[in-house]
Amino acid sequence: MSIKKSLILSLALFFVLTLTFSSAAEELVLWHTSFTSEWSGLDETVNFFENNTNLDVSTDYGPPLYRDISQQFIVQAKTGNPDVVEGVLEQMFTYAKAGLIMPLNDFWKGYEDKDQYLDNVMDAVTIDGEIYAIPYNTNVRLLLYRKSIFEEYGLEVPTNWDELVETASYISENVEGMDGFMFTTKEREVRAFQEFMSFYLQLNKSMFDVSGENVKVTATVDQLEEVLNLYDKMFSSGAISMDNRGADWKALDYGYTSGNQAMVTVGPWIWSHRYEDEARAEVIDDTGIAAIPVNKNGTPGTYMEVKPIMINKYTDNPEKAWNLVKEVTNKDFQLLVDSNAGVLSPRKDVMAEPKMADNWWLQGFSKFADTGVALDPISWERPQNAIIGAIQEVIYDEGSPAEIAEKLHQELSDIAANL
């Protein structure tokens, strides 16, 4: 082919492609990680939904990672696409503040299933009296431990922070190839923040007071120092290996189910590791579930996660979008998704089903569900990074926990002043 011909051909091709873009405006678009990211229940979830929906929904369910979802949702929400988006609670606060999602109070009032939802979970998706989402799963962070190890070494499950450090460092010292405990501590790792909060919330059920005109920090320096001290002791006592400094969630989840740690504080999702291979399934079956050890000055409390389903404020068809929300939060669908993932449902009727009620794992988690505390409704990105920064400073010995707590408190106050 001569160059001239190929030039003309390529330009022609370019124009043809320009004109033949696809745009199916009638379809509803749903972005939902349960439909995209690779997990054991994926095929079943997608098939079930596609066979049972009465709506015309695009078969493209958006990006698989929450980070990409929020980035793209913010870029394009105003085009009305996607109509419905799933996310994490922190994203819901951000979207709501940016005016990208719709308050659902009017729909909620007429919703026949509204009595099925747990009050504390619905509180979590409510900002200033406006409901912004319908939750489809919820979970709490608890202490998971290896029953066989505790039996073999005659250990008791720790109930307070001192016992936790003591037991964990005993295991690190005496059990070959195993650490007592694990925290994620990578920079910008959301899980590191969530773990911090799981312990902090025992000392104080809130970190920011949003009721007044200006946001105020309710955390005290002492409370922050107490939690940072725990991090310090965990690493300096050898309970957590120094090798694991800077590790992310993958190292924690896969580390535990590979048998590298005897205890972790984590949510119920690692249940799905049991489908990956036999060795992991054995670890899961050997797992005991207990409340997170409670600080001697604290009360039970832990980080509660709620996964909200939200409606784009710019959708062309709010009614249809609401119908879609109902379909992906109805009893059958939640039962399928949550039981596969091994997480709790915020619906009472789902939790009463034998599939959920007879599952020892879910029962273990639901026993402590009421200790879960939802985050204060603010944009958490800056506080998150400040807290992770402080954790890193402690474990890399950049100062004493007291100094760092002082600094962190100051940073949080500065952030609050600008919220």
């Binding site: 940016a98 990578k186 910008r188 790792e189 090798d243 800077g246 590790a247 990105e381 890399y396």
Partner: protein, 290 residues
Amino acid sequence: MINNKKNNLKGYLILLPTLLAFGLIIFYPTVRAFIQSFTNASIYNEASFIGLENYIKVLNNPEFWTAFMHTFVLVILAVSLQYILGMAMALLLNEDLKGLGWVKYTIMIPWVIPVASTVVMFDWLVLPDYGLINMILKNIGLGHLTRYWFGDKNFAFPLIVIMHVWRNMPFYAITLYAGLKSIPKYYYEAADIDGASAWHKFFYITLPNLKYPSMIVIVLHVLWTFNNFDFIYLSTGGGPVGSTEVLATQIYQTAWNYYEYGHASAMGILMMLVMMVFSIFYIRLVRSDD
């Protein structure tokens, strides 16, 4: 040189697609970002003009300067190591050694692996218990040295430099190798007759003849390294304790975690100014030698 009015018009005409592409995809958005850098634009509020406030905020932020220094050191280390090793590789490829064909086919692999996979791959080298490096250390009796290398304050930054070198060095090698091929043989033969040493030949024949390809790869990679955020973002997140934080990750965070577009744009414009000064200065320097 074609030099009359009618033909010059044609010259502009055939440059038009280039201008159009640049205008739309680069110029228009960059100008918008430039304007935005003087506003308080964020997802939470409509943009309003705030003058130089963003710039003042950025320049007064010590974290910006730390990140600036890190970026600077990273670029210098990565690009010079890439150049030195790339040059060594190119010289070796130009030798008559056995097994070279095989090397040439595989050498470009690092350059074509998507960044997300590269980071996973390096993680598999440096993870505490299952990473190749730590496994080797344990097996040769150096078990006390094992650690999560990305999580070590002293090794995280060098490791980031190594990732950059690993990815881009082959591109230098191939480009410089091609340059070597084109240097006429008789230059070297003449030097041999004069009894020049190998070093002498390298500095007086090889290097000067590689000036143009060197300029291309160096400028290209200085800008690439300056701008790259995903290597760091995905591997260390900028930690431990900020030791691998660079401008690109800070800009990403400001724009996509804090959603402060005006603030982030100001940082971007400042970074662009630095790169522009470098590019103009460097290209002038190379050209003035001609």
